[in-house]
Symmetry: C2
Subunit: 350 residues, 2 copies
């Protein structure tokens, strides 16, 4: 038997070791660990000393096996669809969620493994998480369907089709399109282009595409505008090409609305305008719509209707924790309105 004095490596020190050293029983140590019931001060001191001496740390897995909350939350973003990742998982988004969790004493994981239904269920069953925040929700999302069926707590950042009894927070893409066009029309623009989400997103997958397009159609109708739009893949090159083709179709465009899922969309558009000799905003205004991080890192900086990703993730996390801690689970459904930030890329006409 090796000497007990050498530093224990790998071989874990258990609650039993602590009990032995302190000369008490295992349940007593457990009680002290969990700050429960009445324990003699003298006993507590002895046990705490033993804990410190041995460098004991409780075994989370074993604790959780017995039940009880894990006080752990997870963010899940499905890697199979990296569409929006860069926009959602910007620094401030991560920090917002981590901050909200930390303030309430929750742990937060960002799950980036491929998730199967079994694994998802297991996250809850095994007490690995108390709740999850689902990103990049599609209209008919298997994660949502499964979690709803099992009645496991979760919050969507985004929206599926059937929202009954579900809690979500989402950006108000429909309203923002209306506002964006209203803003440009008020500046005198009538020939306005739009760069928006890929077409297949509208039908198959993601709600933002649908909502944005609905808003766009309402805006056209409301202000009696003609439609000039491209559904792009949101990459630099696509954005560049789409802007180019938009200007081929109508060289008289005086403004373009650009959905920003990352800083590349607007950049592509700006570069296409520059290449054709359009100055921004003198010859053509560009108005961004999206998370706020992407508007200012560009030349010229973008006037935009924008959301704070920090605030959205902070609130999503808070909603998750509230759902967990409150008795009555009345679903919260939040649509976040954007803020208009005027920078350099827009200008009144005439």
């Amino acid at each position: 038997m090796p000497g007990k004095k050498s530093k224990m490596v790998k071989q874990s020190i258990t609650i039993a070791d602590v009990a032995r050293v302190a000369g008490v029983s295992v349940p007593t140590v457990s009680r002290i660990l969990n700050k429960k019931e009445y324990v003699a001060d003298e006993t507590r001191d002895r046990v705490n000393e033993a804990i410190k001496e041995l460098g004991y740390v409780p075994h989370f897995q074993a604790q959780r096996l017995r039940g009880g909350a894990s006080r752990t939350l997870a963010l899940h973003y499905p890697v199979e669809s990296p569409h929006l990742l860069s926009s959602v998982v910007a620094t401030p988004y991560i920090i917002g969620a981590a901050t909200a969790a930390g303030e309430q004493g929750y742990f937060l994981n960002f799950l980036i493994s491929q998730l199967t239904p079994d694994i998802l269920l297991n996250m809850y069953r095994s007490n690995q998480v108390d709740g999850m925040i689902l990103l990049q929700v599609s209209l008919d999302d298997w994660r949502v369907n499964l979690l709803r069926e099992y009645d496991y707590p979760f919050v969507m950042h985004g929206r599926c089709a059937d929202l009954e009894n579900l809690t979500f927070i989402d950006l108000d893409f429909e309203t923002v399109m209306l506002q964006a066009f209203e803003h440009l029309v008020a500046l005198g623009h009538r020939e306005i282009g739009l760069l928006t989400y890929p077409q297949h997103w509208r039908t198959t997958t993601l709600a933002p595409a649908t909502h944005a397009f609905n808003g766009y159609e309402r805006a056209l109708h409301k202000y009696g505008l003609q439609a000039f739009y491209r559904e792009t893949d949101l990459r630099f090159e696509d954005s560049f090409a789409a802007t180019d083709s938009l200007l081929d179709e109508n060289p008289q465009l005086t403004a373009i609305v650009v959905i920003m899922t990352n800083h590349l969309t607007a950049a592509g558009s700006l570069q296409a305008l520059a290449k054709r000799g359009y100055r921004v905003p003198e010859d053509c205004s560009v108005l961004g719509v999206g998370f706020g991080e992407f508007g200012q890192g560009i030349t010229p900086s973008l006037t935009a209707f924008e959301w704070s990703s920090y605030e959205v993730s902070y609130q999503a996390t808070q909603m998750m924790i509230e759902m967990l801690t409150q008795e009555t689970r009345s679903p919260q459904q939040v649509l976040v309105p954007p803020k208009l930030v005027i920078r350099e890329s827009t200008k009144a006409i005439r």
Copy 2:
């Protein structure tokens, strides 16, 4: 007793339920689950049927309590220091790590909770992770010290001061500075500015700042250049102001090297140049150094010495898995060289 037919919600189905339904013992089910030893086909079928019928999913936590690898890896980025987060945690970085993990059948978590020593130790002790990839490593990093002391497996993305016996992957910041200045000198530039990391990073925290600065000093010496540099906070405004002040000091600068930890640094610099009427690259070249995502989303697009964050994270994850699966743990120490990508922001002089 409620009818057994109704869907079980929350109350988990255990291996015992499966055993009962299949009319076998618990160990038999366990064997089938783990694909071990010889089991009669007929028995296996019966058990699998029961599993399907009950919708049984094994309890990870309980499995791990008995020992065995968790096949789970974690990325840890300390949120208390959001310095570089946006650069490191770009989409491709996440996807690279997730891909490498998935290919080998590993789960991958991105830890964004505040981490204490206890919690870190627990990650390993509780078999929550087999290994961790540490991001944003500081020269004297408590995570590294602790994990090394306990001999728990980990890989650094970055470098601490004492690297003996440690495995890491890092960008070669020292060499890249040499290369960047060599490149500009070859184009005929002699008056070259530099925008680099904050000064306090050099001394207190992060290795990249130190390495980059060493490389810079070597470059100045090697090419006999005069020093024109600013240590900035890597934000848009700082970058803007630093460039401005650099041009105040020396309006004859014909080139600027910009460290890109996100797309804002270079953008701020470009905007400052534009404000002062310098055309890029005609009047002043701008050369980026950093992850490749940030070079192209800008007007003009940036010529840069760049790294692929996908590849770096992919390799870091692979190194972690290798360390876990290979008998002999000889530490791997990898410095990744950058690639030069010529775009629009640099130009030969005279």
